[in-house]
Symmetry: C2
Subunit: 152 residues, 2 copies
């Protein structure tokens, strides 16, 4: 685990490097606020409707889980020129619930220097989001544009 | 294009069915507010820093584009038991900018009835997000859990 505040570039990272975030506590008000803005479906807004739904109780929007994950990635993955995503794959193996305390673990799984643009590369990072019971609520695989030292 | 308010189930949909959303206008305040909460990087928060970045100017977080897309999907894709995502793939071919007016076009590209659970299936939907110039700012492919009539 690497949790220092010094930033890194494409020249400094290696496959297998890992970054651990802080914990992020989630409450019902946050779940409903995000849902009102971006995912106004009954199972994200109303306990009674949620109890009768696929989720069997109030659940956060998957997009809220993704957004919280991004917040924790920004704080914990110290890439010098920022986290610039070209594309991602996400799955949600189980719901995020009110009262959950999330954290994320990010691992570099591939590094592909660009042939056409020698100042950068594409880094593949897997970021797993867990609740306080160690259950995975999201798997994210991101393709990031990462620059060499002095290029950004 | 199908834009009626009647809801549909797994029994009612077919590959090729399409759904068109309303338009969603985006301003600088919304971009910065989302970024403060979920993606606090300089190119989403500060015009001067953004001008010097990869993006060459203020850009919305990709997660904000995804969240706005979900809002427009919830309003325009009338699946009876809701939009329940098992997983997604996203790419962002160009940034979303202040002043953009977004809309989304969703197309059903595959339907796979579940063998183990006859009351449901997995529907693959592609949702393309465009700005006011017809430029694509996001491509989303979602795997949705969709129920048969009366099963939800």
């Amino acid at each position: 685990m690497n949790n220092e505040t010094k930033t890194v570039t494409l020249d400094d990272i290696a496959v297998g490097d890992r970054y651990l975030s802080r914990e992020f506590p989630l409450d019902t008000a946050q779940i409903k606020s995000f849902a009102r803005d971006f995912d106004p479906q009954p199972f994200h807004l109303d306990e009674a409707a949620a109890a009768q739904s696929f989720f069997g109780g109030l659940a956060a929007s998957g997009w809220h889980t993704a957004a919280m994950t991004m917040r924790l990635m920004v704080e914990s993955v110290p890439i010098a020129d920022g986290l610039i995503g070209a594309g991602v794959e996400i799955s949600w193996p189980r719901p995020t619930r009110p009262g959950d305390v999330l954290h994320v673990e990010s691992t570099i799984i591939a590094i592909a220097p660009s042939k056409s643009r020698p100042d950068r590369g594409i880094v593949t990072m897997q970021t797993d989001t867990f609740n306080q019971d160690g259950e995975q609520v999201q798997k994210l695989v991101s393709k990031l544009v990462v620059f060499r030292r002095g290029a950004g």
